[in-house]
Amino acid sequence: MNDRIVFGQYINKDSWIHRLDPRCKIITLFLMMIGIFLIKNIYALLICLGFILLVVLTTKIPLHKFLRSFKMIAMLLIFTAFFQIVFNTYGEIVKVNGYDLTYTFTLTYLNLGIGILLIVLYFLLGKIFRKFRLIQFLIFVALIFLSEAFILIGPSIVSYTISIHENGLYTALMVLLRVLNLITLSALLTFTTKPTDLNGGIEGIFKPFKFMRKGVSIFAMMMSIALRFIPTLLNETSKILKAQASRGVDFNDGSFKDKVMQIVSLLVPMFVISYKKAEDLANAMEARGYIPGDERTRIYELKYHISDILVYIFLVLFLAAIIVLKIGGIV
């Protein structure tokens, strides 16, 4: 169960990024994200992505872990790109070898039948072959379009043209690169920073605002408890799942009514357990002298090292470069 959640998981390795101060990492991530949002030039985005991937290589974390975090949003990315390419009609039509990239599709009655058949096939295939569902889906969509482009037998219902415009391609590519940049960056942070460090970093960043409100440390404590209890609660969930399975709940299938019952049989015990754990934890914290909002000392004081300063210098240079290029109208 724990294997599925890749995004936001800490991977223990020893690299310079792991040793960086969490405050430095959070601030750099945040400002770099803003910087990347300002860039509108594809080449600049590509350079950014290349640079980030270089940094990724130095973390000693296997690349496929990063790739798996892309997988989660692959569907979203593909849809965005698809709609941009198909529906964006600004700019010139793209030409390849002097031919316009314009395609005519005709929906005939035969095609309609084929389309429905393919959709049914797709769902039937899901019952047997559960892997690579995304790729399967894409293949079936492509097949539907192909059938509408080439099998033109019988009376047609509707005919439509899709032409690929420069602007659409450009925007699609830009969105794609931007999201890839952002995902890699945030994966870089969460893969290399322990939840407790992340929390300490956030607390450290908000320290200057302490005079405004007292709640910073309470909020940080709440965050760290929430993060710390994710694996515990996942464990409890799998226990309850098994306990209910041994009472005859089949979580794999069942009618809609059954499904509701299955979820209730899982949720109620989880609520009970969470409340009980929260109560126990609160008592245990009080017993060890925790007073909300009070001044606390830390075991590990956060300290900036030379590498953090170097990263900050790089960050300033990066932002300066973007601003200069932006004013110059290049990116």
Partner: protein
């Protein structure tokens, strides 16, 4: 008839092709009638994993499991064959023409083997005790009235009939556990597996529960499997003990033999039941020829009487 495990392994893939075995090379035969088995071994020895494999809640990595029960006057065989990542299942009526498939719903299997987890009170979720006890049989039988009948019958057996209309969350810990166990028993499993059922119960509730299990075993001829650390329970109730050590079965046999086997006791950090300890001490102090392997007070008293005879009051 019963459960047959041969060469069953369950491993977690750590890194590339490096396995960490939770249980290793388990060969086991469990009858579905009249057995009272205690599974012992120190924490992390794979006891809980083993009982979850019996129920197919955990799928083995390697090995073959064959489970055989009577359903509607037919001998039904459930077969699970695992070799690495590939697991094949089969349900057959005669075990001759076994057709293996990649996926089969083994829900029916769980009707025959009831598993009560540690702290089962957490699985309760319905608003009344009756509804919660009904939940299991309702899932298996798909018949509301029958399920209700079963639930009321089981509640009477366990002396919790007066709680049926109450909310389970208003009960005491011991009562909640009784309700949870009733919830499993209501689906009438032939084999009942309990993972440390007496932890956190007061002595009276503990005795009640164990006596009830004894009743189920002796009168209803059910097979009871309990995981426990309490040697008094093993001594007094179990007929057969299975000792697990680092995922392997170290000992499988009668409890007498186990307590006489010093090697097993030492390597697995086991202990002797209190009565055995007392008798052993008496034997040493009084220097008398005493059979120290007696597991309840009556037997121990008889043995003392036999040895000391009339010359000691």
């Amino acid at each position: 008839m019963g459960i047959n495990l041969s060469e069953v392994n369950l491993a977690y893939l750590k890194e590339k092709k490096q396995y960490k075995y939770a249980i290793k090379d388990i060969n086991l035969r469990i009858d579905n009638e009249d057995e009272f088995i205690a599974i012992v071994g120190h924490t992390g020895s794979g006891k809980s994993t083993l009982v979850q494999v019996l129920n197919n809640l955990l799928v083995p990595t390697f090995g073959h499991i064959s489970i055989n029960f009577r359903e509607n006057n037919n001998d039904v065989y459930y077969n699970i064959k695992a070799s690495g990542k590939k697991v094949k299942y089969a349900i057959s009526k005669d075990n001759i023409n076994v057709k293996y498939k990649a996926r089969v719903s083994l829900k029916a299997l769980r009707k025959h083997i009831g598993l009560v987890f540690q702290f089962p009170e957490y699985q309760i979720f319905e608003e009344t005790v009756l509804k919660d006890i009904m939940f299991g049989p309702k899932n298996f039988l798909r018949d509301e009235n029958k399920a209700k009948e079963e639930a009321i019958k089981i509640a009477e057996m366990m002396n919790i009939s007066d709680l049926l209309d109450k909310s389970p969350f208003m009960l005491s810990g011991g009562q909640m556990r009784k309700v949870a166990i009733a919830g499993i028993l209501a689906s009438k499993p032939e084999v009942l597996v309990l993972d440390e059922p007496t932890v956190g119960l007061d002595p009276i509730a503990k005795r009640d529960l164990l006596e009830f299990l004894k009743y189920l075993n002796e009168v209803e001829h059910k097979t009871i499997i309990i995981i426990t650390h309490d040697m008094d329970v093993v001594g007094e109730y179990a007929k057969r003990t299975i000792v697990l050590n680092k995922g392997c079965i170290m000992y499988d046999g009668s409890k007498d033999e186990m307590f006489k086997n010093d090697e097993v006791i030492k390597t697995c950090n086991l202990n002797y039941p209190n009565i055995v300890k007392i008798l052993a001490n008496l034997k040493k102090k009084l220097n008398i020829d005493l059979d120290i392997y007696k597991y309840n007070i009556d037997d121990a008293f008889k043995e003392l009487n036999r040895v000391l005879g009339d010359n000691h009051e």
